[in-house]
Symmetry: D3
Subunit: 196 residues, 6 copies
């Protein structure tokens, strides 16, 4: 399937919306309604309805829940780990969401290029240190990493959240790179207007 | 929660079975019935019911479906990528499943230490090459990688399966290392009796 | 020295403009005139006038000259290598220049996250392959790398240009990270208006 | 030379036992007597008698001597470093010896996949940290590494033992991978019966 | 252009001395006068006069200035980082200069192979630790790295010097590898006579 | 034990010569006779007589034998792999031997810094490519690597020699770094006189 400019949005076929199972179509209609466009992750993953349902169930369980992390902080984790994994779709799409949630037009580019230099708190840097450890050398995680988080006021449940978001996007980044998922043009400009 | 020897099966609390939601309890009862014990992945992930449901839905969508890969081949992908990620739970548990599915007492140890030297076909080595590429440098995947698979008779749907299993265990390996998931003692010996 | 929001633009002191040598002050006045603001690279490097002069002389020799590469292509090299080196200043500032020179509001984010997936030509991907080789494993460069460029119509003088821009920003990225150079707020939004 | 199933045990020719020098033949006869089979390392290295003699002299000097490390601990070093080097022969063969020496059917699989999660003492983890440092970044070893060992009660002679075993298997792992040394089928099952 | 033995000194053409701009020719005449030969870096870079001028201006600004580092210490930084980047020209040429400046026939080989084992002071090792951090992971530099230098009596201006020399040779090493710059035969033997 | 300048030649005690076993003392006397000094590897390893004997037996089996590689080529393998492992003793000591065996005062510094740029034949570069593969990623060695050697006229016995020398110095480099083995001052200047 191609986008409006005729460019493929992924390496795999995308079924016509009318052929999709009703629940998937309903989710796509809802996001279209809310956002004004359908992010390509919904269309490209619809090629595999069961995996679509599992992925978004996982996503919602981690990104929409209550908890010790703000929604902006969760998006920071997505952007920082996805940038390290060179996932174009995830950095561009979640960069837009991060800008909106943080109400900050510059935060996403900062976190994507080098979170150590971003305008975030020391607590948030510790959160991203942990997320990157899960992303790149989870085999070495131990008590000291949990202690470092506790030193910034994070609970062990927060640690699970941070690690699980990092782990989910370890999956998501790989799938997006595998299927050549193209970010929608709309994402690039979203949330860039300065705070007023 | 501790195992029968009093060792913790993970870093996080595990709810008593009676307190679990009915669907999760049913799944755990079913696996207990079938296997004779409850693999610790079910108990440790039950700490987060929504994530539990999403994870096993994803797992079943990839590991239980029909398709161009045999069930043994899917387990090879799990074992090879989990070994590269140093995930003790996944290598030990899925190593057992691989031995059983392949009816081969030695295959799991071979694939875990160096799949290039394992007693598998050239087609299976190409499958694992692709799986490891997705696992470790998905950002570089391109047409040449798909071509290499096609040269061994894999379809592009097979490529999605291989890559998606690798990506799911990129998630799973990180979660198991994060929560210090302990393999059940039972797994080590399963499937080791020689073919007769 | 701090920016208008009171945030330091770098780790080192910045001399008052009136105390700068005349040639450096003239250059800063000129860029202020042309851009409407003074990019922080000029202010932070002014701490060392001789190094300032040498850096911009090198920069101009490579980025302002005639030759086989378009100005947009030179900025692609800067953005791709600086992203790999996690240089926030260079990615943000040269990302803006790339958007303007390429008249494309999306190109910089694409090249920064994963140039292999960017909307650029195969020739430009070969150019960035060479640039990244110089950036990350120059010790392995050999005839085959030059041949690959020639296969896309690049001359050996173009190869020098590509490699030298990559090498100059190997220096620049390290200096910016060393001195904690902060990108000006203005850069983030520049060149993001869609082509009309 | 092939094994009983007709599979080659290595990439190089193996001389008939009767053609081997008497001392090498005596060593092979002795191990056959003791173990009930001839491990393939003896047969494949017999292709080069002088190197065979030197290798086993080195091996015996480190693995059979008295000292501060138990024999099981020495095998842990072999298994952990050989797994990191993806040496199938060494992990499978010495994994069996480790299970037998430690009287533990699970220890080898734990140490091979991620020794940080194995059922071993903190002292043994410090021993394996040092062994892996020698294996992978010996150029950085310094006083702090020796201090860390001393903090767990190891002497500097123990440090030499740990490092030398790691270094010997740096050699051994490379030779086994070079000559495609196949583990004997017998090793996989040895020592797996539960302690009774 | 070839050297006296007929071997090319680089991959690119070198203009005849008489065709060079007067200032470049003057610089080359001066170094010939002083050293008795013309180091190939002057000849190979003369292919691009503007880059030649910028490079040597940068070089002189860092290597010839007054400051907290001795000239021998600056050469140590060049040798250590150039060895890590496998730059033959820079290691051989600056190794000679280091021997001369340090009046020590062995220092260059020590610093090039493993500076941690060289006969240099702890302060100089801290200096090289910082230089290598800038060379290989400048994106991680932070306050702790500056603190470590201060603990050895270095000022923040010294830190800039150390980092900037490392950064300049990040450029220089890449250019030398790109253009296949050949060290002059003379360098190998310079400064090797024992002190006495 | 210290050298003539009072610097320790290693981290471990060295026994007085008169206390050494007769065979080790004889070997040390012989090398003293031949070279005019005792290389520190003999003294530092004498701390462990059995390991001393095994090491030199291995060394002689590979470095003193007849075969398809010249003695200079064997030393090239030692120097190239030891430089990659940052082993000061091995690079300095075997660099001297390489200069003498190749009758070339510059070859060792070239091979140590970047063998791809050294004045050696394409056949010798292929030899060093194979040696470095064994040194750094032996787990990936396969038929293609052997084919590449055959294309340059190497037999499979030569391949064993190349790989085994690389493997022996994988051991030796780690031991020298572990015990802080100091190169004798004499080595630095040996073989540096130009060919006449």
């Amino acid at each position: 399937m191609n986008d409006l400019q005729g460019r493929p949005i992924g390496r795999y076929p995308v079924p016509p919306l009318r052929d999709l199972p009703a629940d998937i179509r309903a989710r796509i209609d809802a996001v279209q309604e809310k956002s004004g466009f359908v992010p390509n992750v919904f269309l490209t993953l619809a090629h595999r309805p069961d995996e679509f349902r599992a992925f978004f169930a996982y996503h919602d369980a981690l990104m929409e829940k209550e908890g010790g992390l703000t929604k902006a902080e969760r998006e920071m984790i997505v952007v920082a780990t996805s940038a390290a994994n060179q996932c174009q779709y995830c950095v561009v799409a979640h960069g837009a969401i991060l800008r909106i949630r943080a109400k900050d037009p510059r935060i996403a580019d900062q976190v994507a290029t080098n979170y150590r230099k971003a305008d975030i708190s020391p607590r948030q840097k510790a959160m991203l240190d942990f997320a990157l450890t899960v992303s790149h050398r989870a085999e070495e995680i131990g008590d000291a990493d949990f202690e470092a988080l506790r030193g910034h006021g994070f609970t062990d449940e927060d640690a699970w959240d941070i690690g699980a978001i990092s782990a989910l996007f370890a999956l998501s980044n790989r799938m997006a790179n595998l299927i050549d998922m193209r970010p929608n043009d709309e994402f690039y400009a979203l949330g860039r207007a300065p705070r007023g």
